[in-house]
């Protein structure tokens, strides 16, 4: 196999950005243009760079690194997500001037880790890539400056994230040792040949469950969701916009790769299904009671993590494709919602539901975009959320987990209440006294409209993108 650098050019490009930011963070920043000015352009260019290696295929680095449709699809999604989050964070009011290069460096590093993750097919590599992405976030979350000093809520969020992360990591590694002890390999392609029934290899099953626990932590699946609402709430709006979106993609890609080991009817698959069902129900029920917008979205991610499980347990190529597609949908919808939140809270505060009151008068474009985002999160047509759920349901029906599909549908009905509550506040309530002034600049409106357009267009014409997802799924489960 000849090593061709073009194949991994998205990773190399991202690494170049990281290096540039690193050197900028070493200086005092007086000689270089501020990071938030130049980085968005280069991050935007990264999307095109990701397209260059679109069709790359191959197995690199001793078989630990696989380029296939799934990985390239995810890398493109990550580049795009990174672009939007960087753009979003470029006008962050709660970030100190001199910490900006570092802040963006860690965002870039986290995205880089996720890119590696989307190609890694060996458990140790997967684990390390995941750690790169998490460690970067550990450093970024406490960076929130309100009133001239560090925000204690952000510090608390950071500590919570680190402690939960450490436990999840320990669990994953402990599980990994059991997998290694009983199956004697850490390559997914070889693990796929092994026996994963409880009767055949109970130790491997326990090990894999523990290892999956580490991924569930990233995905915020019940019962590993505790950090999620707290971290979203504590971190600044822009940081939460990153934490809520991109790492989920990384977790999904690993779960999709590991799902190739699981056939329907295995104990571990049932475990996934049960956790998925619990996660949806718990997330949605908790979200009903939330007043803080970011907490609400936090519980909503818990629920969405449950939805993704529906695609993973079906054990078919269609199911995996649907999960991948849903991850993309989740990314876009949440990017849209966090974009609106960051723009509405122009002073960097935590938005309460009441802060949205009368948004249609103060910022009609943002209010409309928020409406689109909320509709998409519910899963109403003609948005990408609807198509995503539709694919999930059709792929999972009749593969032994119909009860899970029914749970999904029931949960979507519950979710309508609080998602549409956002729209209700924005359109039907009148503004109170202490509401933030939303950012109505061209930048803010353009970003919101483009994201809203993506949500709508992918909802109306999903076939092109979904074809890619199907290709990715078929390569994994021929």
């Amino acid at each position: 196999m000849v090593f061709n650098p073009i194949q991994i050019v998205p990773e190399l490009y991202q690494l170049l950005l990281i290096l540039a930011l690193f050197f900028q963070s070493l200086g005092d920043g007086s000689e270089t243009p501020p990071a938030e000015r130049w980085l968005p352009f280069f991050a935007g260019f990264g999307i095109f760079v990701a397209i260059v290696s679109w069709g790359a295929e191959g197995l690199l680095f001793g078989g630990a690194y696989k380029l296939d449709a799934l990985s390239q699809f995810m890398k493109l999604a990550i580049s795009a997500g990174f672009y939007v989050t960087v753009l979003n964070a470029s006008r962050q009011p709660s970030l100190e001037e001199r910490k900006r290069p570092d802040y963006f460096m860690f965002l870039a590093l986290s995205a880089w880790g996720l890119m590696i993750l989307s190609s890694a097919v060996e458990l140790i590599t997967i684990y390390l890539a995941l750690e790169i992405s998490s460690y970067s976030l550990y450093a970024v979350i406490p960076l929130r400056n309100t009133g001239g000093k560090g925000d204690p809520r952000a510090a608390e969020a950071g500590i919570k994230y680190i402690l939960f992360g450490a436990v999840a990591t320990a669990m994953a590694l402990y599980g990994f040792s059991y997998i290694l002890a009983s199956q004697h390999t850490s390559y997914i392609s070889q693990l796929a040949q092994c026996n994963w029934t409880w009767d055949g290899a109970p130790m491997a099953v326990v090990g894999l469950s523990l290892f999956l626990g580490g991924m569930f932590y990233k995905l915020a699946l019940f019962p590993f969701h505790f950090w999620c609402p707290d971290v979203y709430q504590g971190a600044s709006n822009e940081t939460a916009g990153f934490v809520a979106t991109l790492p989920k993609l990384g977790a999904v890609v690993v779960l999709v790769r590991l799902a190739t080991l699981l056939k329907p009817g295995l104990e571990i698959t049932t475990l996934l299904a049960v956790l998925g069902a619990l996660s949806m129900t718990y997330g949605n029920l908790c979200a009903l009671a939330q007043k803080d917008l970011k907490r609400l979205l936090g519980f909503s991610s818990v629920a969405h993590a449950g939805y993704i499980m529906v695609g993973l347990v079906s054990g078919t190529a269609m199911g995996l494709s649907a999960a991948v597609f849903y991850a993309l949908a989740y990314l876009v919808m949440n990017l849209l919602c966090f974009w609106v939140i960051s723009r509405v809270a122009s002073d960097g505060r935590n938005l309460q539901l009441d802060d949205l009151n009368g948004l249609y008068k103060r910022a009609p474009a943002l209010a409309f975009a928020l409406g689109v985002g909320a509709f998409a999160l519910v899963g109403l047509p003609p948005t990408i959320g609807f198509m995503g759920k539709f694919f999930l349901i059709t792929s999972a029906w009749d593969h032994g987990y119909n009860w899970l599909v029914i749970t999904l549908v029931v949960n979507s009905a519950i979710a309508i209440y609080y998602y549409l509550g956002l729209v209700r506040h924005a359109y039907t309530h009148e503004a109170g006294a202490d509401v933030p002034t939303p950012d109505n600049s061209a930048f803010s409106v353009a970003g919101a409209s483009i994201l809203a357009a993506v949500v709508l267009v992918l909802g109306l014409l999903p076939s092109r993108v979904f074809d890619f997802a199907i290709l990715a799924g078929k390569q994994l489960l021929p």
């Binding site: 001793g62 910490k99 590599t125 390390l128 960076l143 130790m203 326990v206």
Partner: protein
């Protein structure tokens, strides 16, 4: 020889268990730390028993000699006296819950190991450091390089969070 190995195994197990009990139960943070060190040394002994001398020595060099010392340093910089906040004993309910958690997980795993033991692969063979090095730079080369990025991230993160520039500079 086999009996001797069993005795040594038992000895190391006792060290590990005793150390971890001290680490969890001690009132003073420094004593807990010493318990942790004992546990790590016991684990190093286990590696020795598995004929993985390199691992054993690295365990001592890195965990006992470096990591624990750094944790120790951090403890010393805080007020870790026995009258501190963390020294107060937890309420009974919390203790019971912790015990249940430990027993349920430990029970399942213990039951697994006892009733469905894995076939052992015979006497452990010593893996030379040449082999280890080739493995790290060959099939696990990417993982090896990623570790350095993880270290970079954690160091840069620590600097970012903890370092205050002196006024105005």
């Amino acid at each position: 020889m086999e009996n001797m190995a069993k005795i040594v195994f038992g000895f190391y197990t006792l060290i590990i268990l005793g150390g971890s009990l001290v680490a969890v139960g001690a009132k003073s943070l420094v004593r807990a730390m010493v318990g942790l060190i004992a546990t790590l040394l016991g684990v190093a002994g286990m590696y020795m028993l598995l004929n993985a001398q390199f691992m054993a020595l690295m365990q001592i060099l890195i965990y006992v000699g470096a990591v624990c010392v750094l944790i120790f340093f951090a403890i010393m910089l805080t007020r870790a006296d026995a009258g501190g906040e963390e020294a107060a004993s937890a309420p009974l309910r919390q203790n019971l819950l912790a015990l249940t958690a430990v027993l349920s997980v430990g029970g399942i795993l213990g039951w697994l190991v006892l009733t469905r033991p894995l076939a052992t692969t015979g006497v452990p063979v010593e893996v030379s450091i040449e082999k280890l090095g080739l493995g790290l730079l060959g099939p696990y080369g990417l993982a090896f390089e990623l570790i350095s990025v993880v270290l970079l991230v954690s160091m840069a993160g620590a600097v970012l969070l903890a370092w205050e520039r002196r006024n105005g500079k």
